[in-house]
């Protein structure tokens, strides 16, 4: 009763190769997620990313509306267009999530990050560090005879560039806030 001829070794594909071949290029997107600031909401968002195998490049969160108890979570993530769409849809499913905005596709936006960078050392390196900090408009917020702490605000790649320059000059510690972002113009 076998009406079919099964071709042996027909395929190397499997049902787990779930992504179609189109749109495979990985993109970086910045998502703004407005949530009720209730217990566990951040765990829900992070759990979604870890549970479904998505990437988090950067994540910032703080309450932005104290009376309405709303927090804004800014997530920078990477994935193929289909994965990015899934991430947005999955975020939208979380009950305390009010709104998900993809700042990367919804018109121009500004992205800023703040970093505190400690550079230790003396002599010429110390002078050079100060000179570069001036070019990058980094502020000195703490100084000792052997160290500076710089405060720098800017797009993440500006901070990357500054940190790279500081590395040979004695960069010893760095703290970054992660990206905060807003769309440009009227909302």
């Amino acid at each position: 009763m076998n009406a079919l001829h099964i071709k042996k070794g027909a395929t190397s594909h499997s049902a787990y190769n779930l992504r179609p071949t189109y749109g495979d290029a990985v993109e970086q997107h910045t998502l703004a997620v407005l949530v009720d600031n209730e217990a566990g909401v951040l765990a829900r968002v992070i759990g979604l990313f870890s549970g479904r195998g998505y990437n988090i490049e950067s994540l910032t969160v703080a309450e932005v509306d104290h009376t309405g108890k709303r927090s804004r979570i800014t997530i920078v993530t990477r994935g193929t267009p289909l994965v990015i769409e899934q991430i947005k849809a999955q975020l939208g499913r979380i009950i305390p999530v009010h709104q998900v905005n993809d700042l990367t596709v919804e018109g121009p936006s500004v992205e800023r990050e703040l970093a505190l960078i400690k550079v230790s050392g003396g002599g010429d390196k110390r002078v050079e560090a100060l000179r570069l900090a001036d070019i990058f408009r980094a502020k000195v917020v703490d100084s000792t005879l052997e160290s500076f702490v710089f405060e720098l605000t800017g797009a993440p790649d500006k901070i990357d560039a500054f940190a790279e320059l500081m590395r040979p000059l004695g960069l010893s510690e760095i703290a970054r806030t992660g990206v905060a972002a807003l769309s440009r113009g009227e909302s």
Partner: protein
């Protein structure tokens, strides 16, 4: 109307106000105040299960057979952790459950107190939403919200974790607000422009097929009714997932049978060759699609789903429609009628000819025997002898489950309860308890495998205590049959741990609980034995000794396309390549 009462009393009051008549649970230290309140009233019946996992599955059975949310009550720590499988099962099958768990008092949280577990942490990924209730005054609002979230949009399980001091303390009770007052309001109406485009595609389609799922049943009785109307009016064939059986009647002449890994040949071939696929409340699960890059290559695809995250998750679709199935189907019918009830009748007739050819393959044919009961035969007889009865079927997980889906026929929604997404062995028996509790007069049968059934066999106690005459129809092949089948096909017939050793004497086991046991091994005795089971007024364990090495066909092997289906033992040799073996 605001009233002062304890948290424990609020819980019982809120359940009443939400129309709950039955809850399934198991007591413990952290829920004693709630049990006290249950003791003091008569409106809500509490069914004492024998294991918290069973409370959840029973609540699922109750929910799926009634369309109402199921409610379960468990204690903190081990009570809550035992509930995890049931929560996950309900999440994957989109079953509305409200689960209440006790918790150590708020001032002890974080101290590793006796029977403390981070229940909201543990259950966060396996609930639609959960809450730790820290104030008694929050309790009524969250209780009502729990019901709203569980039942709105894509249904699912929710959990409220309630510390003991919150249960004891007094607060202000509020009655349920109107549904419209909640912020959580999933979109019900589909986009009319998109729907019109779908109808335009349907009018000219030469090979359309409806592919329906559990979402039709979850949407309510109107959805099944509208689906039937649309299918009859357009004359297009229809298939369904395991979850959607009964939404369209199996006796309907447009019915192709179930699709998927163990679906019918004609259903899978129609999916593969169609030019327009209309997916209604299903989610392109891997049991359905097989090899995704070979899935229905020639079709335009419509996807109707209330959950936006289901769309384009696995398969790219051409017409996404976000909305409730009943709402969307209603609009589809309206638009189709308004545009003049057009279909490509000639194309359809040819399509049906092709389908009739596939039907001639008679893919469910099996070699019967007069010496040994074939599992397929047992189910054919069960179907014949219970046809037309007020009948509900639950199943466990394995070969018997797939055979039940193939050989039992469902005319209505809510009559078929099986663990689809999670594939939970041990689901069927407690689910049958929940179904019978909701439908005391009906014939409730759990089609089981001996191995699955043992996973929650303690529920015999519950069935006896509450006089729930559930019939446990065990297709006993003394094997973890589905595992054995895969080992035969994939692992060189090395049957590693897939035997059911040391099985109990099921007849004596039944008698030990005070129930009836029936054993049958001769096909000639089968009809009488089944009738004896049906006619017995009380729980029955039916030990049906069946062929031990029967395989379940048709089968789309892992990593294969729909048109590469195996139909019988002769075609299995070398069918699954080693790359398919990594799949489950």
């Amino acid at each position: 109307m605001a009233r002062q009462m304890t948290g424990a009393k609020m819980i019982v009051q809120a359940l009443k106000d939400q129309g709950v008549d039955t809850i399934f649970g198991y007591p413990g230290g952290a829920v004693l105040p709630i049990y006290d309140e249950i003791f003091l009233q008569n409106d809500i019946r509490h069914v004492l299960v024998r294991h918290e996992q069973a409370a959840l599955h029973a609540a699922e059975g109750y929910a799926r057979s009634t369309g109402k949310p199921g409610v379960a009550l468990v204690t903190s720590g081990p009570g809550a952790t035992n509930a995890v499988t049931g929560l996950t099962d309900a999440l994957l099958d989109s079953i509305p459950l409200v689960v209440l768990s006790g918790q150590v008092p708020t001032f002890m949280i974080g101290t590793d107190g006796f029977q403390e577990a981070d229940t909201v942490g543990i259950t966060r990924p396996c609930t639609k939403h959960n809450w730790l209730v820290k104030e008694t005054d929050d309790l009524p609002r969250l209780l009502h919200q729990a019901f709203h979230v569980a039942t709105s949009g894509r249904p699912g399980p929710v959990l409220l974790d309630i510390p003991k001091d919150v249960q004891f303390a007094t607060g202000t009770y509020i009655a349920p607000p109107k549904k419209t007052e909640y912020r959580y309001q999933p979109q019900l109406k589909g986009d009319l422009e998109e729907i019109t485009e779908v109808i335009a595609a349907l009018e000219t389609a030469k090979r359309p097929v409806f592919y329906t799922g559990g979402g039709v049943i979850n949407s309510g009785p109107a959805a099944s009714q509208l689906l039937r109307e649309l299918v009859e009016a357009t004359g297009a064939p229809i298939t369904s997932t395991l979850m959607g059986l009964g939404a369209y009647p199996a006796s309907g002449d447009k019915w192709l049978g179930m699709l998927g890994m163990h679906g019918l040949y004609e259903a899978n071939m129609a999916m593969h060759d169609c030019d327009l696929m209309i997916c209604v409340g299903a989610r392109f699960d891997d049991r359905i699609t097989g090899r995704t890059d070979a899935f229905s290559p020639k079709s335009k695809k419509v996807h109707i789903d209330i959950d936006p995250s289901s769309i384009n998750k696995v398969i790219h679709v051409d017409y996404p429609i976000i909305g409730d199935v009943a709402h969307v189907l209603e609009d589809m019918l309206k638009v189709w009628k308004a545009r003049g009830r057009k279909m490509d009748r000639e194309g359809l007739a040819k399509w049906w000819q092709k389908i009739d050819g596939w039907k001639q393959v008679k893919c469910l044919t099996y070699k019967n025997s007069d010496k040994i009961i074939k599992p397929q035969y047992a189910l054919e007889r069960l179907e014949a002898l219970t046809k037309g009865m007020d009948r509900y079927i639950t199943t466990e997980v394995g070969q018997h489950q797939m055979w039940a889906a193939q050989f039992l026929h469902f005319e209505e929604p809510h009559r078929w309860m099986t663990s689809g997404g999670l594939g939970t062995m041990g689901y069927g028996f407690p689910a049958s308890v929940g179904v019978q509790q909701a439908h005391p007069e009906a014939l409730v049968i759990n089609v089981a495998g001996e191995a699955s059934w043992l996973m929650n066999m303690q529920e015999m106690g519950t069935a006896m205590q509450y006089r729930l005459p559930v019939k446990q129809f065990i297709l006993n092949n003394e094997r973890l049959g589905m595992v054995r089948q895969w080992q035969q096909l994939l692992h060189g017939e090395r049957y590693s741990s897939s035997w059911s050793e040391s099985l109990p004497d099921f007849v004596k086991l039944a008698e030990a609980f005070g129930a009836k046991g029936i054993q049958c091994s001769d096909p000639a005795d089968l009809d009488d034995a089944i009738m004896e089971m049906i006619n017995y007024d009380g729980p029955v364990i039916f030990d049906c000794l069946v062929e031990k090495h029967e395989n379940c066909f048709p089968m789309i092997p892992s990593g294969k396309a729909h048109n590469e289906m195996l139909l019988g033992d002769a075609s299995t040799e070398g069918a699954i390549q080693s790359d398919g073996a990594v799949l489950v």
